[in-house]
């Protein structure tokens, strides 16, 4: 998932202009993103996940005229993936029980979250490795300062300072953009 929205969008618009190489690398970059999307939700045999990845890639390819170049790319791709996911459940005759609705809402916000994560990845990549690691651990993965300190082999004070400096740098970077 080390690709950003901007890169994917650029590949998509090149592909739409007839650039086969860009289109190919778009599909290649999407395959792991889709694998993690479906892998998280479908707990079936691996080949089922493969089928859904392939069906989604085919849909993204054959229905690419439904992408509007003026809009972000990943929400479009995720909308197609979600359709394929719902279709998968429907075909298996599974109805979604009411108590699973919560999960569905969570799944939907996961898409926004992953789009956001692409941006976060891009911003974080400009920071020193140590700051990246502690911010990821405390702010994204939700570990405590103590846990992070133990994992990174740093003192707790060191973690706090690193997080603080890192966030400050991020804020400055985000403001620039």
């Amino acid at each position: 998932m080390n690709v950003t929205e901007d890169e994917l969008r650029l590949l998509m618009s090149r592909g739409l202009n007839g650039d086969a190489a860009a289109h190919e690398s778009l599909l290649r970059s999407l395959a792991p993103v889709l694998r993690s999307y479906f892998g998280r939700r479908v707990h079936d045999a691996a080949h089922e996940v493969d089928d859904m990845i392939q069906e989604t890639l085919i849909a993204i390819h054959t229905r690419r005229m439904s992408y509007d170049r003026a809009r972000p790319f990943m929400p479009w791709a995720y909308a197609i993936a979600r359709y394929k996911l719902v279709d998968h459940f429907r075909r298996r005759g599974a109805s979604i029980a009411v108590d699973e609705l919560e999960e569905w809402h969570a799944a939907e916000s996961f898409e926004d979250a992953s789009a956001a994560r692409l941006d976060v990845d891009r911003l974080l990549s400009g920071l020193p490795d140590k700051q990246q690691a502690v911010i990821r651990s405390t702010k994204i993965d939700g570990a405590s300062v103590a846990e992070t300190a133990a994992k990174q082999g740093m003192s707790e004070a060191d973690v706090k300072v690193s997080v603080h400096r890192g966030l400050k740098a991020l804020a400055a970077k985000a403001k620039e953009q």
Binding site: D19, A20, L27, Q54, M65, S66, R71, P75, Y78, A79
Partner: protein, 213 residues
């Protein structure tokens, strides 16, 4: 098949897609369906002989305006629903405008006519046939739209089906205007609207089955 092989195969056929490809395809398919519907009208009922005179009359433009504006709104909604990530919502609110204008015209006509003429205003000469004929002329347009959607990615199939049905109903009705001699706004408000809604209901029922991908 391996995903890598699939990607290679897909990347072999990369044709350029223009920025307005979706709209072009949608309009093209509506136009093709409308052409078939017009040919059917021409060969069966025929275009009214006094069309030239009718073109200068209020009832003709009332019917043409009502049906064409609904068609335009429904086509815009259908174009939105053709994309997986869009929320058309508010566009349907525009339908209030033509309906309200027609309702005002109908109310004015009824208010200024003697009570004895009210049944004529409502039933005209063709109340029993109008809606069914509109449904008939809507059919080729609906087929065209379903064909267009084969390259789109609708995710709300019932909504997309009903928008396509509404669009075909309105286009079918606009074509039927070339034959129909009814002059009363109440007639149009009831029987044309019914004829436009029938394909919209059919589209809502058929959408989930026909538009699946």
């Amino acid at each position: 098949m391996e995903t890598d092989d699939l990607i290679l195969r897909l990347a072999r056929e990369v044709k350029p897609v223009s920025a307005r490809a979706l709209e072009t395809r949608l309009f093209g398919c509506v136009a093709a369906g409308a052409a078939v519907a017009f040919a059917a009208l021409y060969l069966t009922l025929g275009v009214r002989a006094d069309l030239a005179t009718a073109l200068t009359s209020f009832p003709f433009w009332m019917k043409a305006g009502y049906t064409a504006s609904i068609a335009a709104i429904a086509i815009v909604v259908a174009a939105h629903l053709a994309r997986p990530d869009s929320r058309p919502g508010r566009w349907y609110a525009l339908l209030i405008a033509p309906t309200l204008l027609l309702a005002i015209a109908a109310a004015t006509q009824v208010a200024t006519s003697p009570t004895a003429q009210w049944p004529d205003l409502f039933f005209g000469m063709s109340a029993s046939k109008c809606s069914v004929r509109i449904l008939g002329f809507a059919t080729p347009v609906f087929v065209g739209l379903m064909w267009a959607f084969r390259s789109f990615a609708p995710t709300r199939l019932r909504a997309a089906g009903s928008a396509a049905g509404l669009a075909s109903g309105a286009v079918g009705a606009a074509i039927y205007v070339l034959y129909c001699r009814e002059v009363s706004a109440s007639f149009v408000l009831s029987w044309y609207t019914l004829g436009i809604l029938l394909p919209a209901i059919a589209g809502a029922l058929l959408g989930p089955r026909l538009l699946r991908w």
